[in-house]
Amino acid sequence: MSTNPQSPVQMTAVAAPPRRSTTSVAALLGLGLLTLAGAWLIAAPFLLGYHGLGDQRRGAAWTDATRVDVSLGAAILAVSVAALLGYLAAAVTWLARYRQAE
């Protein structure tokens, strides 16, 4: 279908040129740091030499502190990774939908 040169309506859009958002980049960096914090929480009971009363000892049953650290660390790691992947998937989907011509 050819475009009519005498189109009755000429719609013009006045929009600012797109610029990269530093806020989104900083927020994604924060999610990455949260991922690292979750990984650190999982590893901390085993990496640090817990020698006090109630601390985790090598080969012993997990203490309450170790259970809490590992479970919350895994939760933080999973949520932050899921948020990162979700953000990436949403961005890629939007680009595939509206930026195919470029």
Binding site: P8, V9, A13, L41, L48, A75
Partner: protein, 176 residues
């Protein structure tokens, strides 16, 4: 990320090539970020409470190292989660701002001429007997032209749509 935080871009309408429509603003990503970082902040708050809730100290004189790690990491995760949620919220707020409206310029003079004749054509002809039905037709001949300004983009868009449909039907010779 190539998503822009400024005003949304515009694209051609598939059904009416003479007009452009605005693209939807990508808001799903920042929304996921807000939810995820808020959940991480809650986990950090739980980490801050865990040494006291589960009594890691167990009567010891000094606070155990696991408590120190939990308090430090929990505070960091809480602050980082709140900060990240605020950043994602700021990005989401930027993208949800109302974009500037698309300005419509009527280029074809006949459309404007037809539009100018609309109030005259719709004006009821004088009749010998006054009818009460003719009274609501008074706002059509609005001297201020507010109604004309209101109807101008609508009539222009309708004309563009009809023109596009005619162009698509004629070469193929069949109805769409």
């Amino acid at each position: 990320m190539s998503e822009s935080a400024g005003l949304p871009a515009y694209e051609r309408c598939a059904d009416c090539p003479g007009a452009v429509v605005s693209e939807p603003v990508p808001v799903l990503g920042p929304f996921i970020g807000v939810v995820g970082s808020a959940l991480c902040g809650l986990a950090g708050a739980l980490l801050l409470l865990a040494p006291f809730a589960f009594d890691y100290r167990q009567g010891a004189e000094r606070m155990p190292r696991s408590s120190v790690v939990d308090l430090a990491t929990g505070g960091g995760v809480l602050l980082l989660g709140l900060l990240t949620a605020a950043l994602f919220g700021g990005a989401l707020r930027k993208r949800l701002r109302v974009p500037e409206p698309v300005v419509a310029n009527v280029a074809e003079p006949e459309v404007a001429a037809n539009l100018a004749r609309v109030p005259e054509q719709s004006k009821p002809e004088p009749e010998p007997e006054p009818q009460p039905v003719a009274a609501p037709a008074a706002p059509v001949s609005d001297p201020s032209g507010a109604l004309r300004d209101l109807l101008t983009p609508l009539v222009a868009a309708l004309a563009a749509d009809l023109r596009a449909r005619e162009n698509s039907v004629e070469p193929e010779g069949r109805q769409v």
